[in-house]
């Protein structure tokens, strides 16, 4: 039932590991479904798997908030979002293309993460050709 998005994978970052387990976001009877594409959240409906819902904003299949890291950290875990090393970044904009939350901008040829938009999904890390995102 886990709506598996293939990317963002890093060992130890999967479902139920790390901070997700102890945070109550997305778990329990309430919780919410989140769009992995645009970040839109809707209240979870009991008995309806999140992935059967289509995002009201962009039509992508929704996923349960709290799974696969998407939206799982919000601003609670803001200190753990990825950091771009400006000394390594080659300005290719690959990370910017894949970020589902428009949380990356270019600044003088170097990518930077906008902390309050980042949802810590780690997609940017998986595409950076020079491992500049840590």
């Amino acid at each position: 039932m886990f709506y598996g998005r293939g990317d963002g994978r890093r060992s130890g970052q999967g479902r139920g590991i790390g901070s997700n387990r102890n945070s109550n976001s997305g778990f329990g009877p309430g919780g919410s479904c989140i769009c992995p594409n645009c970040g839109r959240e809707v209240a979870h409906q009991r008995g309806v798997p999140c992935y059967e819902l289509k995002c009201p904003a962009c039509g992508s299949p929704m996923t349960r908030k709290g799974l696969n890291n998407i939206g799982s950290t919000g601003t609670d875990d803001i200190n753990n979002i990825p950091v771009i090393d400006g000394e390594e970044c080659i300005g290719c904009e690959k990370c910017l293309e894949v970020c589902p939350f428009n949380a990356i901008r270019m600044n003088a040829g170097t990518a930077e993460i906008i902390a309050d938009k980042c949802r810590n999904c780690h997609r940017c890390m998986s595409v950076c050709p020079v491992e500049a995102i840590k």
Binding site: E88, G91, C92, K94, G109, V127, P129, V130
Partner: protein
Amino acid sequence: MSLIIACATDDGVNFINRHFGDADYYYIYRLDENGSEFVKKIANTTEEEETHADPKKAGGIVQILMQENVKAGVAKVFGPNIKRIKKHFVPVLVHSDTIQEGLNELLNSYTEILNLWNQGETRRHLVLK
């Protein structure tokens, strides 16, 4: 030892603001500790890049530049192709707009570039800031 470098440019004066592989021309310079000397200009005859990180594209550019013994490719921006490019020469990111200023940046890092060249295909790129 001198260092042959290729600058990504359209007009021979400024670096392009696009990826290294997207330049119309590569201006080839020979560098040593004392200064730089223009060698020649080479037209980029490889086809338009269809997608980023097109393997054929990297192959074409790399081959053209390897024939000139290029040891460093210089640009303001690289694309994901950098993974392949760096196997054959040192990708160097400059922040100057003009080739002339860029050459000065390179001269200041001459030894570092040479060291990266000597590391072979596992080398990393160099960002000059």
